[in-house]
Symmetry: C2
Subunit: 407 residues, 2 copies
C-alpha cells in the first residue's frame, strides 16, 4: 500500500464528464489499496473567466482581492470531484488551502509555498477518506488567501507530496509524458522513460510546457518522484527523478524551443565598469526580465552587447535601452523581435566534449545563422531567426540521435 | 459618525456595472464619515449555475461538498467589490466566512449562525478599511465551509450588524421597501415607513419576499434596526424596528398572500387521543412541512381534520395521509392543490375587536368562500380558492384603509 498524490490539470477537469472520469481513475487507484490525495486545478477556462471579471473593473486589480476571486476556481473543482467520488460510494473530503493549511508568503498572484501542515490530510486518510486538495492556492500569515501564479497547481501537488512523504506524485496532463522534443515538429520525437530533475528544469524553463518550473524545483529539493502522464489513457508516462535513479544517461535528452523571444543589441558601448549595471538596472526597474546576455571581450575599448527579452516586452525594452545607451555614449541600439531560442539539454553533456561544436556544425550545414549563444553545464541555447525554428529543432533532434528508431 | 452595515442582494450585484454602482453607493456612505461594512450575495444566477454543476454529477450531492461549491459565489463578489472600491481609491478588504470567522452549526446547506467574532472586522475598520463580507457562508467547528440556505445573506448581514452593534443594517434590494401589499395586485399599495419585527416576521413567512425570515428573527432578538431600501434609487425605504419605536400603529399593516398552497382534509376521523400525532408523525418523517392545521370540536365522536402543505409536497402528502387514514379508520381523504392563503397582519389587532369579522364580511360580500382559518395574535389567515387570490387581496386592502390616499 502506497501513498499516491495525483494532480489533474484544467483540461483533465474541464467538463462534468471529465471530472467523472477523474473520479473513476482516482477510485481505481484507491481500489488497488493505495491512500490517495488528489490535487486539482480550476476547470479549463474558469481562471480566465474570473480574471476577466476583475479586469472589467480595473486594469490592474488589487492583487489581494484578485486572489480571493481567482482561488474560487479550484474550490469549485474540489467540491465537484468530492461529490463525484461520494456518489460512487467512496469517502471523499475536499480541502481548500486554508483548511490544510498551505502556508505561503504574501506575494499575492505569485505567492511561494513556505510550509504545508500534513496532519489534517493524514488524519483524513487514516479515517479512510480520499483527500481532494485545491491546487494553486494557499494562505498567508494574516489569513489572507493567496495564489501561486499560473501553473501553480503542479507546485501544490509536489509540495503536498513532499509534506506527506508520498511514494509518487502523478501529474496528469493532456500529453503522454516528456518527449525528446515537440512531436508537432518532429514526428519521430520519443517519449522519455525517465529524466533527471536538472534536465527537466532546463526543459521546463525553455518552453516545454509539461511541468511548471517551480514544481520541478520542489521535487528536486525534497526528492519527490514525479510521474508525468496522460489523463486520457493508461500509458506509462515519464518519471522525473534524481540522477542516481537513471542508470544510463544520454548525452542529450531533448531539444526545446521558445518562439517568444526578442533581441536588443547596443552597438559600440564604451567598455567601462558599471555600464552593464546601469542598463540592466533600468530594465529591472521596469520589471522586464532579461534572459540571455551576450557580451564579447573588448579589444578596441568598445564592445557590442546583446540581450534577449520576452517578445511582449520588446518595445518597452527598446525605449529604455535607447535612453540608457545615449546616456552612456553608445553608438546606437538595434533590435529584432522575430527571433527564437533553440536549446539542447542533457546531463551527460558535462562529461562529453564536442557537443557545442556539433550544434554549430549541424545548424551551419543548413545555412542557419546563429545570432547568440548561451550555455550552462547541461544546456546549450542558440538564438536564431524565428523562421528557422522548426528546421533547427528537426536537424538537432536528428543529429543527436534522439528520434524513435521505429518511427 | 455611525457604523453602517449594508447588504446587497444578487440582483444588486448581478453585473460588473451593478457592482460598480454598489461601490459608488458604499463610497458615498463612507464619504459621509461613516464606518461601512458591506455584506454581499452571489451575482444573480451564479448560485443556480454552481448548484447546477453539482446536480449534473449527483441527484443528491454530498452536502458538505455542495457548500464548498456554493460558497464560491459570494467569494467572487466580495473580491470584485473590493477591487472596485480599491480602484476608486478607497481602502477595502474582503472577508470570507472563515476569515471573520462566522461560526455556524454543521447543518450543511441550511446551517444556522452561532457566533460572529467581531474583532477582525473592527480592527480593519479602525485601520480605515471598508470591510466587504461574504454573505450566506460560515464555518463549522471542524473548519468546514457551511452555507445558510437560500436568502441567507440577509441573515449574515443582520448577524454581523448585531455582532458589531451597528447603528443600522441597510438591506438593499430591488424593491423600495415593505408595502402594505403586492403593488402588482393593488396599484394603491403604500410603502410603510416603519414596521415592527413581529409584523415583518408574519409578512416574511407569509410570502412577502422582501426579507429572509431568519434575518428578521435575528434583528428582533438583538434589536438591530433594519432599513429595507432599493439599490436603484435614494428613496427612504422601510425601517423594521421594535414596536416601541413605532409611535402610531395601524390596526392592520399589510395584506400578504401565498399561492404555493395545497389542502388535505381527512373526513370522519375517530376523535381519539393520538390520532393527530400519528398522521403528522408520518408527514414529518417524510420531511413534509405542515402549515395551517384546522380541526373542529367533535360532537359526534368523529371530526374532520384539514391541513395545508406546500404545493410541491401535495401528491406525497396525499399518499401518506391516505395510508394513515385507512389505518386509523377515517372515512376518506380529499385534497385540493389549487388554494391560496391570504393574511392580514397588524400589531394593533391584539387590542381591536372585530377585525376577524370584518375579514369574513368583506370576503363574503364578494362571494369568496373561506376554506379554512388560522389566526395568531397579530395575524388572520384565510384559505381560499386560488382563483380569488387577487380579488381577496384587493378588497381586504381597501377594507382596512391601507391604500395610498393620493393614488
Amino acid at each position: 500500500m502506497a501513498l499516491i498524490v495525483q494532480k489533474y490539470g484544467g483540461t483533465s477537469v474541464g467538463t462534468i464528464e471529465k471530472i467523472k472520469n477523474c473520479a473513476k481513475r482516482v477510485a481505481k487507484t484507491r481500489d488497488a489499496g493505495n491512500d490517495v490525495v488528489v490535487v486539482v486545478s480550476a476547470m479549463s477556462g474558469e481562471t480566465n473567466r474570473l480574471l476577466g471579471l476583475a479586469h472589467q473593473i480595473a486594469e490592474i486589480p488589487n492583487e489581494r482581492e484578485l486572489d480571493v476571486v481567482a482561488a474560487t476556481g479550484e474550490q469549485v473543482t474540489i467540491g465537484l470531484l468530492a461529490i463525484a467520488l461520494s456518489e460512487m460510494g467512496y469517502k471523499a473530503r475536499s480541502f481548500c488551502g486554508f483548511q490544510i493549511p498551505i502556508r505561503t508568503d504574501d506575494a499575492y498572484v505569485k505567492a511561494r509555498i513556505r510550509t504545508i501542515e500534513g496532519d489534517t490530510i493524514r488524519k483524513a486518510l487514516k479515517e479512510g477518506y480520499i483527500a481532494v486538495v485545491a491546487g494553486f492556492q494557499g494562505i498567508d500569515d494574516t489569513g489572507s488567501i493567496t495564489t501561486l501564479g499560473r501553473g501553480g497547481s503542479d507546485t501544490s501537488a509536489v509540495a503536498v507530496a513532499a509534506a506527506l512523504e508520498a511514494d509518487v506524485c502523478e501529474i496528469y496532463t493532456d500529453v503522454d509524458g516528456v518527449y525528446t522534443t515537440d512531436p508537432n515538429i518532429c514526428s519521430d520525437a520519443r517519449k522519455l522513460e525517465k529524466i533527471s530533475f536538472e534536465e527537466m528544469l532546463e526543459l521546463a524553463s525553455l518552453g516545454a510546457k509539461v511541468l511548471q518550473i517551480r514544481s520541478v524545483e520542489f521535487g528536486m529539493k525534497y526528492g519527490v518522484r514525479i510521474h508525468v502522464r496522460s489523463s486520457f489513457n493508461d500509458n506509462q508516462g515519464t518519471i522525473v527523478t534524481t540522477e542516481d535513479e537513471i542508470m544510463e544517461t544520454a548525452v542529450v535528452s531533448g531539444v526545446a524551443y521558445s518562439k517568444n523571444e526578442a533581441k536588443v543589441t547596443i552597438v559600440k558601448v564604451p567598455d567601462k565598469p558599471g555600464i552593464a549595471a546601469r542598463i540592466f538596472r533600468a530594465l529591472s526597474e521596469a520589471k522586464i526580465v532579461v534572459d540571455v546576455i551576450v557580451q564579447n571581450v573588448s579589444v578596441t575599448g568598445y564592445t557590442d552587447m546583446t540581450f534577449t527579452v520576452g517578445r511582449s516586452d520588446f518595445r518597452k525594452a527598446m525605449t529604455i535601452t535607447e535612453k540608457a545607451a545615449s546616456e552612456i555614449g553608445a553608438e546606437k541600439v538595434v533590435g529584432d523581435d522575430r527571433i527564437s531560442k533553440v536549446s539542447i539539454v542533457g546531463m551527460a553533456m558535462r562529461s562529453h566534449s564536442g557537443v557545442a561544436m556539433k550544434v554549430f556544425e549541424t545548424l551551419a550545414a543548413e545555412g542557419i545563422n546563429i545570432l547568440g549563444i548561451s550555455t550552462s553545464e547541461i544546456k546549450i541555447s542558440v538564438l536564431i531567426d524565428e523562421k528557422y525554428t522548426e528546421l533547427a529543432v528537426r536537424v538537432l533532434h536528428g543529429a543527436f540521435g534522439l528520434g524513435n528508431p521505429s518511427a
